[in-house]
């Protein structure tokens, strides 16, 4: 019996191959987008873990000094008192105009060195690694870039290193960074000898910091991954709309067959189980397709994600994708779960199918259905708002976002129904009246697809507005921030001093750029020193300031902090910030800073010198008449034999910053477009579903004298009107979404709040795109309608009751 039933079930799909393809595509799209995002996230996380494991980062306690520098003597004193600590000297050096992260470790005592070998797999000779000039170990791509620099020690390419990091012995690092005799941190090794004295007896200046006390890559990038996950989930939901539509259609078309099978004696339980099994098999097939799709998609997007994460957070992510078993399992589980969820309604109906029910017309759901949906939508919205009011943080922000989006989607059918009713009442001609009423009648069947469209459009408008607002703000900020005509980087402090002296009579002003990394309770804090100059007074992008802010800073009473630090530590003008024990300053102003996620602060240069006398003096901004800038740059390069990366004109710095920015949102835009595509497909499947139920409704109108081509044109028009209505409703929702992204999510994720700008031309583009999608979706049903044999239409009357 089972074989026969299966044969009967399968016959449906054999006759409706497009439907089968649609179903599988729906499942594949839902699984694919979601799995792609998961694969990207998993790959990024694995990269962080690998990087951390490889170098023992984020696992051991560290000793740090408030000034950011630990004297070598302190390390030796700790060692000689028994403390087992490993010395690390971190820094950055410039190679070919690019700033490279360097980690210098005592290669003899460092606890977690990866197996460093050259490309032939041979370990290097200790003698050449540990003694001058030493060796630099870099991942192959970086090694290839650095190899051209004749000033660097020889490079050994090693695949055991995280991307973007150069590892070397501490003696080599000291020379390269020009930081002789100091260290940046000490790792406390897990095994300590008996009877070691307390830390405050040996090194009272040092502070012990647990790994979780530091802002690590994983925490910084959590927000980014949550962002991606939210997008993936949205795509998944939209994909399920397609599944829901197709399964609903297939079940409606097979009601006659079900009834017949039941009448022939197939028990309801057996039938339900077989239908369930059929769905699971389709889910697995579609899921597998989706995984292939997801893997391809992730592979295509990963390099950009890696670039984004490096650009935004300096987080090391490899641009290569690995296939993970748990990813496959999770993807298939999502496919099966999602398919069953989307088919729940249909299965439920099958289980309660009366034995002798007619292969009926879809029961009309009236306004009461819309109202119930709208009420639950209102509740979901309210729940999102309540969650945000009660809890703090990024997750609460996303709950708010999800609540508002889902809630609005649920309210959509009622809004559309009310709108259609409004037009219907105003319609004068009978055909127009019929058109509005017909749309109203089809609303229940189309509402899910329209919800998907609304979500996709709103997400598109919201994210687009956020990205474009960010871009405008960022470019304006770059203009304010990068005012010096030339940026100079010397090889070391000594050369810096000579360059400064040489430039002094030749330029309008030489502005030193010096910084040091300090420890603050909110994470690392980069302290900068500035000299008093109109460059800063006139251009620096302050978003909050006390009166006479620049004078307060000049008189060493005030400190400027960046927006990230201000929001993280809740410090605003008038509050006090302790930089080091006994060194507390009043916050004089807060400036916007979109270059990095870490905290930053600015004090007067002489105060900076007291706090960090050993900080580098290698970087300068040079103010000069722009017409003479290139000439001066040439002279400077010639005078000090500097490389091309050492003297950079303003325009080049800006171009580089812009390029990083544009990379940052490539993934967001890609997912955006994909979501919209899926939504268009959802409308198509819904219309296709409705089509089969359309004949009984169209036949009377045809019989009254409307031609089939007229009906087909009206079919197109109807799709267009509904999509346009959804788009109009999506606009305010999208703007609300943008507002939440800018005011809530960005502040939580990056630490900055951006002003919102509106881009009507983008909306127009999107609307046109939506209209095209709607027309395309309706094209097939309309074409069929045009071609439907009159006999079919007549048969409607013959078959009735």
């Amino acid at each position: 019996m089972i074989g026969t039933v299966l044969q009967a079930l399968w016959s449906h799909w054999r006759w409706h191959r497009v439907q089968l393809a649609t179903l599988l595509t729906g499942i594949a799209l839902a699984t694919g987008l979601w799995s792609a995002v998961q694969a990207i996230n998993a790959e990024a996380r694995a990269s962080y873990d690998r990087a951390n494991l490889q170098l023992g980062l984020g696992q051991l306690d560290e000793l740090i000094h408030p000034s950011g520098r630990i004297p070598l003597e302190t390390y030796v004193a700790l060692r000689r008192s028994g403390w087992q600590v490993a010395a690390v000297l971190d820094g950055r050096f410039d190679a070919g105009g690019r700033s490279v992260r360097l980690m210098g470790v005592d290669m003899v005592t460092y606890p977690a060195l990866p197996a460093l070998t050259d490309t032939q797999g041979n370990p290097p000779d200790p003698a050449i690694v540990l003694t001058a000039p030493g060796r630099l170990f870099a991942p192959p791509d970086l090694a290839a870039q650095l190899a051209a620099d004749p000033d660097l020690p020889p490079i050994i390419a090693s695949t055991a290193l995280p991307p973007g990091l150069v590892l070397t012995d501490i003696g080599t690092a000291e020379t390269l960074l020009d930081l002789s005799g100091s260290l940046t941190r000490l790792l406390v090794l897990p095994e300590q000898p008996r009877a070691i004295p307390p830390l405050d007896q040996v090194a009272p200046d040092l502070r012990r910091q647990a790994p979780e006390g530091r802002i690590d890559t994983a925490r910084l990038t959590d927000s980014f991954h949550l962002n991606l996950s939210a997008f993936g989930l949205l795509s998944f939901a939209v994909g399920l709309f397609i599944v829901h539509g197709t399964v609903g259609l297939a079940f409606a078309q097979r009601r006659g067959m079900f009834r017949t099978l039941r009448a022939l004696g197939v028990p309801l339980v057996t039938l339900s189980q077989l239908v369930l099994a059929e769905l699971v098999v389709f889910a697995l097939l579609g899921g597998a397709l989706g995984l292939v799709l997801g893997h391809l998609l992730a592979g295509a997007l990963l390099p950009d994600v890696a670039a984004t994460l490096r650009g935004l957070y300096g987080a090391p992510v490899q641009g290569q994708l690995h296939l993970r078993l748990e990813w496959v399992a999770a993807g298939l589980a999502m496919a099966v779960g999602g398919t069953l969820l989307a088919s729940g309604q249909a299965l439920w109906r099958l289980a309660r199918l009366p034995l002798l029910s007619a292969p009926g017309v879809q029961a009309w759901r009236g306004k009461s259905g819309h109202r119930a949906s709208a009420i639950s939508g209102g509740l979901v919205c309210a729940a999102g708002v309540a969650a945000f009011a009660m809890f703090d943080g990024l997750v609460a922000g996303f709950v708010l976002l999800g609540g508002v989006l889902t809630g609005s989607a649920l309210v959509l059918p009622l809004l559309l129904s009310v709108t259609l009713g409004f037009f219907a009442r105003r319609a004068k001609k009978p055909v127009t009246q019929w058109l509005w009423a017909d749309m109203q009648a089809q609303l229940p069947g189309l509402s899910l697809a329209l919800m998907a469209l609304l979500l996709a459009l709103a997400a598109n408008i919201g994210v687009g507005t956020m990205v474009s607002s960010f871009r405008l703000t960022f470019l304006g900020w770059l203009d304010q921030r990068l005012v010096s005509e030339l940026y100079v980087t010397a090889e070391n402090s000594e050369q810096g001093r000579r360059i400064e002296a040489w430039l002094e009579p030749r330029a309008d002003a030489v502005l030193p750029i010096r910084n040091v990394e300090l420890a603050h309770e909110t994470g690392p804090l980069f302290l900068y020193g500035i000299v008093d100059h109109p460059t800063y007074r006139e251009n620096w992008p302050l978003i909050a300031a006390a009166p006479n802010v620049w004078d307060t800073v000049r008189q060493r009473q005030g400190i400027l902090i960046n927006e990230q630090l201000a929001r993280r530590a809740d410090l605003w003008p008038g509050d006090r910030l302790t930089l080091a024990p006994g060194n507390t300053l009043t916050v004089a102003g807060v400036y916007s800073d979109y270059g990095n996620p870490t905290g930053q602060a600015i004090v007067a240069m002489d105060l900076f010198d007291e706090i960090a006398p050993e900080a580098d003096n290698r970087r300068f901004g040079v103010r000069i008449d722009p017409a003479r800038a290139e000439q001066l740059a040439e002279a400077l390069r010639a005078q000090f034999d500097l490389g091309p990366g050492a003297v950079v004109p303003q325009a080049a710095v800006k171009a580089q910053s812009r390029a990083i920015f544009e990379k940052t949102f490539v993934v967001t835009s890609a997912l955006n477009v994909l979501t919209l595509g899926v939504a268009g497909f959802a409308i198509f499947t819904s219309l296709l579903t409705l089509w089969t139920q359309r004949l009984p409704q169209i036949a009377p109108v045809w019989a009254l004298g409307l031609t089939r081509s007229r009906l087909a044109a009206l079919e197109l028009l109807r799709s267009l009107v509904l999509a346009t209505l959804a788009a109009c409703l999506a606009l305010p929702l999208g703007l609300l979404l943008a507002l939440i992204l800018l005011e809530v999510i960005n502040v939580q994720a990056f630490g900055w709040r951006l002003p919102m700008f509106l881009f009507p031309s983008d909306w127009m583009q999107l609307f046109i795109l939506t209209a095209i999608a709607a027309l395309l979706a309706a094209a097939l049903p309309a074409w069929r309608l045009r071609r439907v044999p009159p006999a079919d239409l007549l048969r409607v009357f013959a078959n009735e009751r």
């Binding site: 060692r79 000689r80 197996a115 460093l116 003698a127 690694v129 300590q192």
Partner: protein
């Protein structure tokens, strides 16, 4: 005493596999080579010799606790040079490694330390004498009166050492030949320290006293290419006589050497083949078979003794593993001492 420090060159971070000793026996790259007829200069020679590749300050002591039990301790500082000079700072080519062991009748504790030269974390000064790595030290105004300290995570010791007798020079007045091909080292000892102090065990402290033996050795190429390991004995007999004897196991036959030291400190070097070593019993230690009971004969001194490990499990599970522990001597002569075995 031993040449195990050779392994020290093969620092674990660089994941070099120890291909026998061949790789190291092949070249000396500008390092000085020991020459016969060297005139020692003290106290300067108690200090380091950076132009030689390897060097060590190696102290072992047999101790008796107030609880009546036998204990042994080892304190070693190895120097290994990557280049034949020294310079201040991280890029000093001198590397240091410390090993400490404490053997009780039923447990063996050990610890290891690594350090770079040039920054003060480890080193040796001749006068006043100090050899240190981290908080471990062996120091005193002269080498005749020392304080000694080492700690692991669950053990430690604080001892004072007083020399009782002169320095002893092995081989040809301190020029000690290590193979038939003529590889050699400079090698002298202070075999007669009186030792007292405190052992820190995980559950208790023990006051101890006994006798200690310091070996000083430096060289640049002490092993022949075919030599795979050695067995090394430093023994103190109840009669007051002492014996240093070793066997280097080679593919082309063993090479032995010994020094007989009388109670007044005068010594006699015994050439290759004078002393014979026969393993009597092996123990399963760290997944290998290690001879822990030996017959040692030296016909020239009418010596025929059984040497038995006090604790067969005295395995130094350090970066380069070896067996090192206190032994009890019986037979023609009774006494105690230390045994070191490598290459098993």
């Amino acid at each position: 005493m031993s040449v195990k420090a050779l392994f020290f060159l093969l620092l674990a971070p660089f994941a070099v596999s120890a291909q026998g000793f061949a790789g190291l026996g092949s070249s000396v790259e500008g390092f000085d080579i020991p020459q016969p007829g060297y005139r020692f200069d003290f106290p300067a020679d108690h200090g380091p010799h950076p132009s030689f590749r390897i060097e060590w300050w190696y102290l072992t002591a047999n101790l008796t606790g107030e609880d009546g039990r036998e204990y042994g301790i080892q304190w070693t500082l190895f120097r290994s040079a990557l280049r034949p000079f020294d310079q201040p700072g991280w890029q000093s080519p001198q590397l240091w490694m410390g090993h400490a062991g404490l053997t009780t009748p039923d447990t063996h504790f050990f610890a290891e330390r690594l350090a770079r030269g040039g920054i003060g974390q480890a080193g040796v000064t001749a006068a006043p004498f100090e050899a240190w790595i981290d908080e471990w030290h062996m120091r005193g105004d002269t080498i005749d009166a020392l304080s000694l300290r080492a700690n692991g995570d669950d053990f430690g010791y604080d001892l004072t050492l007083t020399a009782d007798g002169p320095l002893v020079f092995h081989g040809d007045n301190g020029y000690s030949v290590k193979s038939a091909e003529g590889q050699a080292s400079y090698y002298y000892s202070q075999p007669g320290y009186r030792v007292s102090g405190m052992l820190h065990l995980p559950d208790r402290k023990v006051t101890v006293s006994g006798e200690g033996w310091l070996d000083r050795e430096w060289s640049s190429q002490p092993l022949a290419a075919d030599q795979s390991g050695w067995d090394w004995f430093s023994l103190t007999f109840d009669s007051g006589d002492k014996l240093m004897a070793f066997r280097l196991r080679g593919g082309r036959g063993d090479y032995t050497s010994a020094t007989w030291i009388t109670p007044d400190g005068s010594s006699r070097s015994l050439p290759d083949g004078s002393v014979s070593f026969t393993p009597l019993q092996t123990s399963r230690v760290a997944a290998r078979n290690v001879p822990t009971e030996w017959q040692v004969t030296l016909p020239a001194e009418d010596l025929d003794i059984r040497v038995e490990a006090q604790n067969a499990q005295a395995w130094m599970g350090t970066r380069f593993e070896y067996w090192e522990g206190p032994v009890t001597v019986s037979g023609s002569h009774a006494g105690r001492g230390y045994l070191e075995m490598t290459g098993y």
